[in-house]
């Protein structure tokens, strides 16, 4: 075991994993995280805590992760390269480990232009692939980037993201391979709606043997309304929502119900694709639905290891 987290145990034992997402509040209240922890505790194996997602300032992912951990939810602490340089990132990782966080997800981070501080100076001292490498080196060699030794144990289970829908398509598997080579133990993908394209990407990943070297979790974003479906189709770069999904949402008598049904169907489909080892359900500000979706998709109860 690299970190002995619940997520690692599930994935390494070959079980189909379920991860979820819990965004920290735009404020100081721990109650928000506790409530999300409550909603997610029994329906996922671990929950990602986002790091100033979409460049909007929120409670830190480190604090959010600790709050989830106190709720007996295994946190996946997200780290973006936009806001911190190599010193800050390494020190946060040390602190997170000291406080019991074991899973880390390495991301570039959305550009600050999209957030609520568009005049900020971004950092990008290192990129997401170099961040994976950095964490792996901290864990396996017990060394900082500069080569000096870290005192104490450095248990970490290292994750990264992948977007099969970004361009150039042929490069997407190369990029995945680079992340695996850098040390990604697990991968969470961008939301899947176009299953055929995702399956093609998975096939290329399996051809390169990447499913044997990492655990790929397919991303699922349940859609709450027709407006959200249209917004994601038209404005969210790197997400591909087919018109058919938008139409279904528009015609549904109960949009939330339909959104959950679409998510369940997607999970059932991606589960059958060779090499997929789990799903990552990102129900942003709709954590309550995760349990229903997981249940209807036959993923409950979660195994206790």
């Amino acid at each position: 075991m690299k970190a002995g987290t619940n997520l690692e145990k599930i994935l390494e034992s070959g079980k189909f994993a379920v991860t979820a997402e819990a965004g920290p509040p735009k404020g100081t209240s721990p109650a928000v995280m506790l409530k999300k922890g409550e909603a997610l505790r029994n329906c996922c194996d671990a929950a990602n805590v986002t790091d100033n997602q979409t460049a909007i300032v929120r409670m830190s992912s480190l604090a959010g992760s600790v709050l989830l951990k106190q709720q007996n939810v295994d946190p996946v602490m997200q780290i973006v390269c936009r806001d911190r340089n190599r010193l800050a990132i390494q020190s946060d990782v040390l602190g997170a480990i000291a406080l019991g966080v074991g899973n880390f997800l390495c991301l570039s981070g959305d550009h600050q232009k999209f957030g609520n501080h568009p005049t900020a100076k971004s950092v990008f001292d290192i990129d997401s692939i170099q961040l994976i490498q950095t964490l792996k080196n901290m864990r396996d060699e017990k060394k900082f980037i500069c080569g000096e030794y870290i005192s104490g144990e450095v248990p970490m289970y290292i994750g990264a993201a992948a977007n099969p829908y970004a361009d150039p398509f042929e490069f997407r598997v190369t990029r995945l391979a680079k992340k695996v080579k850098a040390g990604a133990d697990f991968i969470q993908t961008q939301a899947v709606y176009d299953v055929a394209k995702f399956a093609k990407w998975m096939e290329m990943a399996v051809d390169r043997g990447l499913d044997k070297k990492t655990h790929i979790l397919a991303g699922v974003i349940p859609i709450r309304s027709a407006g959200m479906a249209r917004y994601m189709r038209d404005y969210v770069s790197g997400v591909s929502v087919p018109d058919e999904v938008v139409t279904r949402m528009e015609q549904a008598a109960n949009a939330k119900e339909e959104g959950a049904t679409i998510a369940v169907e997607l999970i059932e489909q991606v589960k059958e694709i060779p090499g997929v080892h789990g799903v990552h359900i990102m129900a942003v500000s709709w954590e309550d639905i995760v349990s229903e979706i997981a249940k209807r998709a036959g993923l409950l109860p979660r195994p206790i290891l």
Binding site: C81, R82, R86, S108, G109, D110, H111, K113, S122, F124, D125, I126, D127, S128, I129, Q130, Q133, T134, I145, A161, A162, N163, Y165, A166, D167, P168, F171, T174, R175, A177, K178, K181, A182, Q190, S237, G238
Partner: protein, 216 residues
Amino acid sequence: MITITEQKPIEEIMQSLGTAKKVYLVGCGTCSTICHTGGKSEVLDMKEKLEAAGKKVTGWMVVPTACDELTKYALEEQAGEVKKADAILAMTCAFGVQTLAMFTDKPVYPALNTLFVGKEEAPGQFIEVCMQCGNCVLATTAGICPLVRCAKGLLNGPCGGSVEGKCEVSPDIPCAWQLIYDRLAALGKLDELEEIVPLRDWSTSREGGPRRITIE
């Protein structure tokens, strides 16, 4: 290669000038003339605006190249009018502003924002292609600079926001890494993208005060 400038808002210029009543104007015959920010006609426009705002313009000149040492002699030639002024307003890039400040004891205020060192892509269209990072990576990026042309300065791109050749930041910005990918593909060198580019040494960049070098 030219230094690209744009004029600051007139309110900001007025604020910089503050109580300075009498102003001497300097334009530049090189980069800011090409950018239409500090050539003769822009200097005369500015003169009018200042006068309309109740300032007195004691004189003006467009020096051939404001960043050049010769600016010193131009100032000396105009000593009479410069002396009468409370401040100099420089319609030059920041190199020119700093050169002027070296050779006069009058306060020198910038009328322009210096945007970047760029090249002309098409008539009147300028693009930044290098930010003088001090540790050039063009050898592995098909001659396209990822530090300035990728919105995140990524070395292992393209990131997950690259769609149909455009950067996630704006549909008007080509994704630098798509450009690099296409050029490497044309060169038959796509396999180079399999390599992980290690962490960068930024110490050659803007990290330790002004960079200096003495050429023997």
